[in-house]
Subunit: 676 residues, 2 copies
């Protein structure tokens, strides 16, 4: 028997005895230690870097001699001189066991690295992407034993990487023969192994060893905004995030008006499908340009979106989603070729994964929020509100999770607001109104200064002050209520009632002037009575949805609230509560999850296990249909005041004082004050 | 326990006891009896017709009473009055067991009908198509238990037809919701279940019950000719057969000139790919029109072709096939979407199956010949010659099969022949030359009359006499040899040497005038010295390939010869042997298999089992490479005479007498006779 030595891996603690001369990479593989390698131990990819420890390891019961591994060799030296390597590191495929040794696998050498760290919940996501690269040595053709180059590649993948019976596309077959010859029968193969027991797919083949260059897009396809993260499929890092307006807005601002457009105009759904696919192509190109990568190295796209956007992206007429029983054409997750969606700007064999939908009004975006926020793992009762043109709500804990959607309309995204705009530099995002002077101060996106701070004009000269975004309008309305400029019913008082000329008459109602830039040729930014009404409707829909879920769950209160959405991170919890968007809860129990749907999409992009998990989870989520529930209407009507009722909001009354005012605006040009 | 009765099925002999009241269809399914049904027993499709027998069945040991089945019912009456039904027939789904009964399943009610009857070998092919229709009842959507329509369809397919986890395409998903509603939750689903352990695919969905309408194309994509059969996927019948010239001819007449074109012209392969795909689309449209079916009801296409055509169809540069080691990009069978080949004229979700290639010069067409002719099941040593621009040869028996290809050029298809044309009405296809008068007579395609018969002019007035096709030129050259107009070396004698003015001088050589229509404005159809040379080269290549295989096999003679090819059916065995195309063999042992490659394609279209079989068979076929084998050149040079040598063709000398002539054509305008 040949001489053996003990190899102990940290941090896993896995250990085993191996014949002297065994490479550390081989030992790791045999023990199931998570040590990365793309080149399969050929000293090319350097993914298998390890840190051997020397000296006395009392904890492990071994002493490691200086010569426990074979000496630093020329392969390691060449790699170090060309690419650099941290001191103390060795290549696991080059260093071989000579005596007992303790080997640490640093995080960056693990395949299953933890990469998406969620600050809110401190939950880490482990890299387990569907798409990976493999270096393969392929046998040369033999005229006397004829086989195809693809068949020999297949044999090599099975022998060298245990990837069996892969399939591929014609464009890849077209590139295969030149790649094999240029790479002298060594090629880097990009393989996609989704779940669903599907055959592995070869997405591309490159001559020789190809470093990196595997990217994915996580896309949250909202009714108003399309938001995308460009991620590395190797370490999950976000290279760029970008967004643009959904071009379908011209066919209808909210979902139901788009369904109507499809019903009223033959071919209307096809038109909307074409528009959104074109935009996604453009977005992919621009985000790749921003990150300075080739869009053709985007090999995977994960989509999350509501059911109407889902059907319109897939080219399915959404008409059934506009009427009970709101039947989806398909509710399950989908895996398809990007080319089926005409996504031609990315890799020609790229794959698409679409998260499952929960119900006809509760889509893959809500599933993505559930994947990101994991209400089914919460000990306390959590309400998750994903604010958008259609709001998704999840309520539950580890026992039971409910979901519904609520048609808030696009007001929260700055649309249908007189001075509204999407969140971009120049948009007012924070507002405060002095309750005594009734004078506002505000901040715009792109600067941390208030408009009353010195230097504000210089800091915002590039963008100007262009409008008000979703979080800005929420704060403005809430501040107007706190300053006594708006009464509980939502009416803006006139100058005589409020004591400020900023409240000026506009027809039979009043507007509050936030900023008047007209003297400098800029816009006059006001909050109109119509804006207040739009926000009231939106917040009432949101609140009614939450109440409906609480009814169904049989609870009077929730323990915590998570605000999510493309602009969820920017909503001030205090203002949201003043407005009555969310049920009464301790202010410190209101947290922001940012774009949780987008985070869920990123998680699904990086982790096959997460895909499997969410596909199972959506089966457990019970869905409540708001559209046919009479209590939803009831809650909706009751929720239109600002706030709903102070006596049912005890927590709120500890935070803010709401002036007891009531305005009446009959007659043109002004109004009479009436005591409430 | 409920009362039971014995049910015996013929012709299978399967029997079992069933509770009284069990439908015959149910009993058949439980016993594994092959009884068709599309509607799953709902009395709609009438595919499950059976013939109950009454009286004493001593052989089976039962006596069948008149009331052994439930009475003729209203469903059967309705079907009979609407569609008709043979006397004595019952619907298996309606007739239920009441007492012991003997039930015959007529051939047309069997799923696995025998349909492709090969006259040459009397082998029958059993229907086992990859694409079939199923009537499915789908559960309606329930708002309170939301699932997608596709998911409910999937559940129904699993429950009603044991088809599990099917996948589908976006166009089908688009049609699903309207079809379900129009069909009142009953739909006919077209499912493709290929082999390769792939998931079943839903290719289309139609409201309610859809009768028939499943077609497939079997395409033999030759270098010169594209031949297609349009087949019913239900009974395998051929509705139409059609062909057109391969448009790639303009890039090069033979395979190697097309490979050269691809090498010399950047993008040349893409140009050729586009041309052939366009033609296949056109062919699909025209063949559907001929059969009066919608081309969109073509759900499957099977392709067979040589490796260069294979790569050019797939969009793979064929450059590697032009040089040793002649590596194929892929040699295995392929299953793909028709849309990947831009076959947009047929069904949008149609599937394509491509037979495996055997080697770099021996393609899927040769595999198809092997599937059709089954040399590996032959007891005696058979040589199969598939004549085309590239000839494929198979030699073997149940012990061993060898294959090679031989570059015959397009002469056998009428190309490169001065008066040559493809086989079409007006082409001379049969030729006889009187050895005394040296006068020819001939027949043209489209008429059974010889040109010397009364009524010939009237019968051919529509087509005229336009040229000479492949089988015609073979007969013409062989007859010229037998009539002493051509010597063993292949030289045409002058008028003074042959004693006929039909041999006229043409430069330094002579031509034999077969037909001179110039007085009526028609063509003058001659066999020139150049034509003889082209045929000599082609037949020498064919013969050399056969000899090479015989060398490799270690045999001096073969037991039988099968002539195949698009025009293989039309070649006269006698003339082929006079010409020296094939080795010497008893004349009655030379048979024609017609377009065996096309037949193989039809078999693969109708039978999944055949696909599995040929994929295994090609692994067993040993391939001999002609291009690098010195003996091939040697055989080729030796085979250029007509015939090769009478003393090595003892069988031939029993059939024909070949005049011992030898011509020499030196000097212009004539030649001197020289005794041989």
């Amino acid at each position: 028997m040949s001489k053996e030595a003990l190899v102990i891996f940290t941090p896993s603690g896995k250990r085993g005895r191996f014949a002297v001369g065994t490479p550390i990479l081989t030992a790791a593989r045999q023990l199931g230690v998570d040590l990365d390698s793309v080149c399969g131990g050929r000293g090319i990819c350097s993914k298998c870097q390890i840190s051997p420890g020397y000296g006395d390891f009392a904890k492990h019961g071994v002493t490691v001699d200086d010569d426990a591994l074979t000496p630093w060799n020329s392969v390691e030296e060449r790699y170090k001189s060309k690419r650099g390597m941290a001191p103390g590191r060795r290549l696991g495929c080059q260093a071989c066991v000579m005596g007992d040794v303790v080997v640490d696998v640093p995080p960056e050498s693990q395949v299953h690295k933890q990469v998406i760290r969620k600050s809110a919940t401190q939950r880490d996501i482990v890299m387990d992407p569907a798409t990976r690269s493999y270096l393969v040595e392929v046998a040369e053709p033999d005229m006397h034993e004829p086989t195809g180059d693809f068949e020999r590649l297949t044999q090599a993948l099975a022998a060298q990487w245990q990837i069996v019976t892969p399939i591929t596309t014609l464009p890849v077959l077209r590139r295969l023969q030149p790649a094999l010859r240029k790479g002298n029968w060594s090629v880097t193969v990009v393989v996609n192994q989704g779940n669903h027991d599907a055959a592995p797919r070869i997405l591309d083949v490159f001559p020789g060893y190809r470093e990196g260059g595997l990217y994915g897009l996580a896309i949250d396809l909202g009714s108003t905004t399309i938001a995308a993260h460009l991620c590395s499929l190797e370490d999950g890092s976000v290279l760029a995030s970008s967004g643009l307006m959904n071009p379908q807005i011209r066919f209808g601002e909210d979902l139901m008006s788009r369904v109507s457009y499809a019903m009223m105009n033959p071919g209307g759904d096809v038109e909307m499908t074409r528009a959104v696919r074109t935009s996604i192509n453009d977005l992919a190109k621009s985000i790749a340009e921003e990150a300075k990568i080739d869009p053709k190295s985007i090999f995977e796209v994960v989509f999350v979106m509501n059911p109407v956007m889902h059907h319109l992206l897939m080219g399915i007429d959404p008409v059934e989603l506009g009427q009970a029983p709101f039947a989806l054409a398909t509710s399950g997750s989908m895996t398809l070729n990007a080319s089926e969606l005409d996504l031609t700007s990315i890799h020609d064999s790229a794959r698409v994964y679409v998260l499952p939908c929960i119900a006809g009004h509760v889509g893959a975006d809500c599933a993505a929020v559930a994947l990101s926020e994991e209400p089914s793992k919460s000990k306390d009762m959590v309400l998750i509100v994903d604010v958008g043109t259609n709001a998704e709500l999840l309520l539950g804990n580890e026992t039971r999770v409910l979901a519904c959607s609520s048609p808030t309309g696009p007001a929260f995204e700055g649309a249908q607001i007189s001075s509204g705009q999407r969140a971009a530099p120049g948009a007012i995002e924070r507002v405060e109104i002095d309750p005594v002077t009734k004078e506002p101060r505000f901040r715009v996106i792109g600067s941390d200064l208030w408009n009353t701070d010195p230097g504000f004009d210089a800091a915002t000269s590039a963008s100007g002050i262009t409008g008000i975004c979703g979080s800005g309008i929420i704060e403005a309305v809430a501040e107007m209520r706190m300053a006594g400029l708006v009464d509980q019913a939502g009416l803006i008082g006139g100058p005589d009632q409020t004591g400020t000329t900023r409240c000026e008459a506009e027809g039979r109602t009043h507007s509050y002037i936030l900023h008047d830039g007209s003297a400098e040729g800029g816009p006059k930014i006001s909050v109109t009575q119509g804006d207040i009404r739009a926000i009231q409707l939106a917040k009432a829909a949101l609140y009614a949805g939450a109440k409906l879920l609480m009814d169904e769950m049989g609870v009077e209160t929730v323990d915590r609230v998570t605000l999510a959405g493309a602009f969820g991170a920017h909503i001030s919890p205090k203002h949201a509560m003043v407005l009555g968007m969310i049920p009464d809860v301790l202010l410190e129990k209101v947290t922001s999850a940012g774009n949780a749907a987008g985070t869920g999409a990123r998680i699904a992009l990086c982790s096959r296990a997460a895909r499997t998990a969410i596909e199972a989870t959506v089966q457990q989520i019970h869905k409540v249909e708001t559209a046919i529930e009479p209590r939803f209407q009831e809650h909706f009507v009751n929720a239109s005041a600002i706030p709903n009722a102070l006596d049912t909001f005890p927590e709120l009354s500890r935070i803010v004082t709401l002036p007891n005012v009531s305005f009446n605006t009959s007659g043109s040009g002004g109004g009479r004050r009436r005591r409430g």
